[in-house]
């Protein structure tokens, strides 16, 4: 017989384990007070009875504040509509939506991050709104957004009115100190690398701890080796028309490896995360990093605090020797956050009405101002900046290409980066790495768009 103290001890332990293992579960979605069938063809704002919408958004704290203010305005004008706004970190949005779907919870409107767009469409989470919205006319570069929120001829999202660009940033103060210029080719990269390494400064702060950092190289090189045709080549590859083993990808990875062979990224890049890379860069401990215009506020603050140590500079990617003649270095574009209607929504008409409001010119401009950039395709948006660096970036933005990970989707791009890291580590050749990516693409081809 087991003595009582042992039982007590065992019970206490089991309860402790249970208690320790228990994590705070999110509160269930609040129940709709009254649910009505959508009023087909009629503006939701004119709906007679009360309507309850659930809006799930993958947004950071600043984005949440913007949307919540906009929702308050909307609900003031539509007293019959209540909106249950559920915000979640971008990285967890897909899981959140899947969990809600699995539990049969109500969802109507979604604010999605572009990276997840392809995966969400392939999972059947987004409603086909091709014939339901027509407000692309508001956006200056109509075809740009049309192309990137449509898959196989069907439209699933509308933009929140803002896009982001991604390129290399350099510390102008540091470069001036050592008489360096932003490199325009890989001879320049080697020179910068040699000079900064000799001074004990890390040439390139690459956050390699989480593999996706290698998009810092491959985004740009595929655009160059494809003759500024990254968008189409990536789509052709996802659809199986141009395999990853094609020369255009092999050249792309070989060019990306030039950053490695130039000793620009240092031996300990795998121990650095994004926060660490940003901190090292802004502290004058690294010469170059790769990020997007979302980092402007952080860098401008650092510049204000220590102007002798750090001055933000933006530069175009260096040109690959593998690039075809006439190719131009360009920055990568993320079309950005978008609004979609959940495929299982029972209030599609009302959700589209709310989506129409949120993506309006006035609300798009709020996004732009709040993110401290002047980058927007909204034709009516004003330009709040006079900073020459940002103005230059905006010019590049207009000529950029859409980042390949946006087109591939998270699932395929994660594998793409995993295999590239193994190449960087010397564990496999470029050819082998790309063959592995292609094999994986084939294994999940049923889940990928055919473009």
């Amino acid at each position: 017989m087991v003595p009582r103290p042992a039982i007590t001890l065992g019970l206490a332990v089991s309860l402790i384990v249970g208690a320790c293992g228990a994590s705070a579960s999110p509160a269930p979605a609040s129940q709709a007070p009254v649910s009505q069938a959508p009023v087909s063809g009629a503006p939701a704002s004119q709906a007679a009875g009360p309507v309850h919408l659930v809006f799930v958004a993958g947004l950071g704290s600043s984005g949440q504040a913007i949307v919540q203010a906009q929702l308050a305005t909307y609900q003031q004008a539509h007293p019959n509509v209540t909106v249950d706004f559920q915000a979640v970190d971008e990285a967890n949005l897909l899981q959140k939506i899947q969990t809600l779907k699995g539990s049969g919870s109500q969802m109507d409107l979604l604010s999605i991050n572009g990276d997840a767009f392809v995966d969400m469409v392939s999972l059947g989470l987004l409603m086909d709104i091709t014939d339901k919205v027509n407000f692309y006319d508001r956006f200056k570069q109509d075809t740009f957004y049309k192309n990137y929120y449509e898959i196989n001829g069907k439209r699933y999202s509308v933009p929140a009115g803002i896009g982001y660009y991604f390129t290399y940033f350099y510390n102008q103060a540091l470069f001036d100190k050592y008489g360096l210029k932003p490199p325009t080719d890989f001879t320049g990269v080697q020179q910068v690398s040699d000079t900064l390494n000799a001074q004990g400064v890390l040439p390139f702060a690459l956050p390699g701890k989480f593999n996706l950092a290698f998009s810092d190289f491959t985004h740009f090189t595929i655009d160059q080796t494809s003759g500024n045709n990254a968008d189409q080549v990536t789509r052709d590859t996802v659809a199986g028309r141009t395999p990853f083993t094609d020369k255009v990808w092999v050249d792309s990875w070989n060019c990306a490896m030039r950053w490695v062979t130039a000793n620009a990224i240092g031996k300990n890049y795998l121990s650095v995360d994004q926060t660490g890379a940003d901190a090292a860069f802004a502290a004058g401990k690294a010469g170059i990093t790769a990020t997007g215009n979302w980092s402007f506020p952080t860098y401008l603050d650092a510049q204000k605090a220590n102007p002798d140590q750090f001055k933000m500079g933006v530069m175009l990617p260096p040109l690959c020797p593998e690039a075809a003649a006439g190719t131009k270095p360009r920055v990568a574009i993320f079309p950005g956050n978008a609004y979609s209607v959940y495929a299982g929504s029972q209030h599609a008409t009302e959700a589209i009405d709310l989506m129409d409001f949120l993506s309006s010119d006035a609300n798009a401009e709020q996004w732009m101002k709040a993110s401290s950039t002047n980058l927007t395709e909204n034709v009516n948006a004003s330009n709040p900046t006079t900073d020459p660096t940002q103005i230059q970036a905006e010019q590049w933005f207009d000529q950029g290409f859409v980042s390949p990970d946006w087109i591939m989707g998270i699932t395929l791009f994660t594998k793409f980066q995993d295999e590239f890291v193994k190449v960087v580590q010397g564990k496999q050749s470029v050819d082998q790495g790309l063959a592995n990516v292609e094999a994986y693409r084939v294994s999940i081809k049923d889940q990928l768009p055919t473009y």
């Binding site: 003595p3 001890l9 332990v13 384990v17 779907k101 593999n211 795998l270 121990s271 901190a279 690294a286």
Partner: protein
């Protein structure tokens, strides 16, 4: 008044008292039991049928495939790697927390030690810090460019041991997260062993000293044998914790670099919430459950759960 002894009288008097005591116990335990059943046991059992289906995306159509998901585990290289990593993490952390936990318990249990409460508090403090905060804190401390620890390593001329930083290769990355895990949980195991030490009757030590036993003999002949149930509990917790480690690794490394710190739970998360193969992910969970249960049973058989006589 003195009650005359007699079996029938005893039975009459103890039965109602015993019934009441059990009723109170049941009522007090009921909320915890209900929560455990609803949020732990039922979801675990519900996982088993899900593991027999092939499905992609929650709530989408599924196909019954029998035990195929379990068969796929055997040929899945990533699963095998995650299993190896988990076992390595389990071994390192189990040895670390138990050896250090016992050592710290013995030290703070020294009667002449001044500031005992201070040391206990300091050693226990990491336990009450959230795992997320711990992971973020150590990520900063170990960052090769801005961290506090790499310059110290360099000053001591030990940086040749970590040419790629703390996460530069599979072994150093796994050791790093293991050491952080030990740092965070050693205080808890110290308290477990301290409770064990307090349960040992001091008369045993006095008697042994009279017989001429030295410090080492007291430790090996009295302390350690009587701590067996506490070692058993600690090992059970380590096995469960080792096989289910997730948050620390997910935040510190994300399972990387290049899956070098991928454990069964981070891999399960990847399969379930990145690839949305919930059938396969469920098979992984069932595997973890079975292995954890078997290991727990095996160590219970090995160590037993007998409490030291006289101990409470």
């Amino acid at each position: 008044m003195v009650t005359p002894p007699g079996p029938s009288t005893d039975a009459r008097r103890t039965r109602p008292r015993s019934w009441r005591r059990h009723a109170v116990t049941a009522v007090l335990l009921a909320p915890a039991v209900v929560l455990l059943v609803v949020f732990k046991i039922y979801p675990l059992l519900a996982t088993i049928p899900v593991s027999l289906f092939d499905s992609r995306g929650f709530g989408t159509a599924v196909t019954f495939i029998g035990l195929n998901n379990y068969g796929d585990l055997l040929s899945d290289e990533m699963f095998q790697r995650a299993l190896q990593n988990t076992v390595l993490f389990l071994i390192v952390t189990t040895i670390g927390v138990n050896a250090l936990g016992l050592l710290f318990a013995l030290l703070v249990n020294t009667p002449k030690l001044k500031g005992r409460a201070f040391f206990q508090t300091v050693l226990f403090l990491p336990v009450v810090i959230s795992t997320t905060a711990t992971a973020v804190l150590w990520s900063f401390l170990l960052d090769p460019n801005i961290g506090l620890i790499p310059p110290i390593i360099k000053f001591l001329r030990l940086d040749f041991l970590l040419p790629g930083g703390f996460y530069g290769d599979p072994l150093s990355a796994m050791l790093t997260v293991s050491i952080v895990s030990i740092w965070q949980s050693v205080g808890f195991f110290m308290i477990v062993y301290l409770a064990g030490l307090h349960s040992i009757d001091s008369e045993l030590y006095d008697a042994a000293k009279v017989d001429g036993a030295g410090s080492m003999a007291l430790l090996t002949k009295i302390t350690l044998p009587l701590l067996r149930p506490f070692v058993a509990v600690s090992l059970t917790l380590c096995i469960i914790g080792g096989f289910t480690v997730f948050d620390l690794i997910y935040i510190m490394t994300g399972g990387g670099p290049v899956h070098s710190t991928e454990t069964l739970m981070t891999y399960m998360y990847f399969v379930a919430f990145k690839q949305f193969q919930e059938g396969y992910a469920s098979a992984l969970i069932v595997f973890i459950l079975v292995v954890t249960g078997l290991l727990g049973l095996a160590q219970q058989r090995k160590f037993g759960v007998q409490m030291p006589k006289g101990g409470r």
